[in-house]
């Protein structure tokens, strides 16, 4: 972490109709950082994550990516900010077709040779699959890895994780998170993850933003938040989390 902000949120609020989803959020994300946004269900985590790659825009306030307002160049933001969703979308067809669908509007990607595609798959730990294998036959963890490979085709600077391991067992979840952390180091990625599982995230995230009812209630390292018993206050009871995992 070098203190160089890649994202800045300034007084960001999100309202849908009469409902306030997020309120007055101001924070920065530094380049190369692993930031985790934690909160209970309905805290507004996923709504917040959608704003990082402009899938939704704030009702008030501004979001800056590398110093520029996100809305000013959305195509560039989306190419530089990849997302790994909770339930990855796997298209019908082979693994190769999935990679091609993901990159069909990017000329560099469509010209990639099979061995180059295989090396991307290797990067995400899919070493035993074949390019012509049906993607929907892959297991949950493998589908998550394929989705990650599709995202990496764009060479993103930032990777957003939307509860990417919530449908996986703890061992698989850890394997995916180990992979993401390894990619962060090797590809110099910035990771922004939203999760309700602070037990899993504390191994990887360097900083935590604690969200409750759409507002930031605490921020800092896991150690500092533990001292302040912030997780209990935000309704992220450890026993509850252990039950879920």
């Amino acid at each position: 972490m070098n203190g160089d902000p890649i994202f800045q949120f300034k007084d960001v609020s999100l309202r849908v109709g009469d409902l306030t989803i997020l309120k007055d959020l101001s924070f920065s994300v530094n380049k190369g950082e692993f930031l985790c946004v934690l909160g209970a269900s309905g805290a507004g985590k996923s709504s917040l994550l959608r704003m990082f790659n402009a899938l939704s825009s704030p009702s008030e306030g501004d979001i800056y990516f590398r110093g520029k307002v996100v809305d000013s160049d959305i195509p560039s933001v989306r190419k530089n900010v990849g997302v790994l969703f909770q339930n990855p979308v796997v298209f019908s067809g082979s693994i190769k077709e999935n990679l091609m669908i993901a990159g069909r509007w990017n000329h560099n990607i469509t010209q990639l040779l099979d061995h180059e595609l295989l090396s991307i798959l290797q990067q995400v730990g899919l070493t035993k699959v074949k390019l012509d294998q049906n993607a929907r036959d892959l297991s949950g963890g493998e589908q998550q890895r394929l989705a990650l490979a599709c995202t990496l085709l764009n060479h993103p600077q930032v990777l957003l994780l939307d509860e990417p391991t919530s449908n996986l067992d703890y061992k698989l979840a850890q394997a995916i998170m180990d992979l993401v952390d390894k990619l962060r180091k090797t590809l110099d990625l910035t990771i922004i993850a939203v999760s309700h599982d602070h037990l899993l995230m504390r191994k990887y995230a360097q900083r935590v933003i604690l969200l409750s009812k759409g507002q930031i209630v605490d921020e800092g390292s896991f150690k500092a938040l533990d001292k302040r018993q912030a997780f209990d206050k935000a309704g992220l009871n450890e026993d509850e989390v252990q039950d879920e995992t």
């Binding site: 899938l55 989306r78 900010v81 969703f85 979308v89 995202t151 764009n154």
Partner: protein, 272 residues
């Protein structure tokens, strides 16, 4: 017209007394309905009466229309038909699509201008070019088929968007434009509405004789000439559906995205 149609000397002219005799079918149906105690007698009698009145009135109206030999009248009439079809198409939508009425208006007008224009000027070569004898029935077929096809496609398109919401947002996140992100949804909805038209091209004449051809043959036209008309109509039928759908979808898909290339998810939610 390039060619005068040959009429058979024994062609069947129905007079009003013949039409009255056809009421025997209704009488027979009423007997069946009573026997089965379906309780539909009153509705059938109203329907029978309305068919008689509506079609007789339409006959006189058409006779009057055919006497109006002016291009402005004909274009106005076609525009009114398109507006009624657009209104009906908008009413038929299961979900509200923003600006669907103008989308229908543009797609039906565009396909009508191209297809009706081609038929009137280059295929039938009618004189004058706005001849109501050709423009009204053919224009009606184009607009009617365009209406049915675009209504079906639009309904299917919205269902596809709803079904593919995550897929669309994944593609947007990977850098796709809104058009690229919904391309598969557009393709699936086009397929669903065009396949019946293609099946029609495959089976026409094998399973049943189409209405226009049957009507012409009954009216004493040489079957070979009736067939030529039907072939033209089948080709026109498909192109109308394809063209109207493409124009409509090109307008409609944009309504589901903001200017910031974000999917308007609220349009896909069920209303409380």
């Amino acid at each position: 017209m390039k060619m005068r149609c040959k009429m058979r000397p024994d062609f069947y002219v129905l007079n009003w007394s013949d039409v009255l005799v056809s009421l025997v079918f209704i009488a027979f149906s009423i007997i069946l309905i009573k026997k089965w105690k379906l309780g539909l007698e009153k509705t059938l009698l109203i329907g029978t009466f309305r068919t008689f009145i509506q079609l007789t009135a339409m006959g006189y109206v058409l006779t009057w229309f055919f006497d109006q030999q002016h291009w402005a009248f004909m274009l106005s009439l076609l525009m009114i038909m398109i507006m009624i079809a657009s209104f009906e198409g908008t009413r038929r939508q299961k979900k509200d699509i923003p600006h669907f009425f103008p989308a229908m208006l543009v797609s039906l007008t565009g396909s009508a201008i191209f297809i009706l224009g081609t038929i009137m000027l280059f295929i039938l070569d009618v004189k004058p070019w706005y001849s109501p004898y050709a423009a009204i029935p053919i224009g009606g077929m184009i607009i009617g088929n365009g209406l049915n096809s675009t209504s079906l496609t639009a309904n299917r398109f919205v269902a596809e968007l709803k079904h593919r919401e995550k897929e669309i947002e994944t593609l947007l996140s990977l850098g796709a434009s809104p058009k690229q992100a919904v391309y598969d949804a557009m393709k699936a909805s086009m397929h669903a509405s065009l396949i019946p038209n293609i099946n029609g091209l495959m089976t026409v004449g094998l399973v049943q004789l189409p209405g226009v051809m049957t009507g012409q043959i009954l009216a004493g036209i040489d079957p070979i000439i009736a067939v030529r008309y039907q072939i033209m109509i089948m080709y026109m039928w498909f192109t109308t559906a394809a063209m109207a759908n493409m124009i409509m979808l090109a307008i409609v898909y944009r309504q589901f995205f903001t200017k910031k290339m974000q999917l308007r998810r609220e349009l896909l939610r069920e209303k409380a």
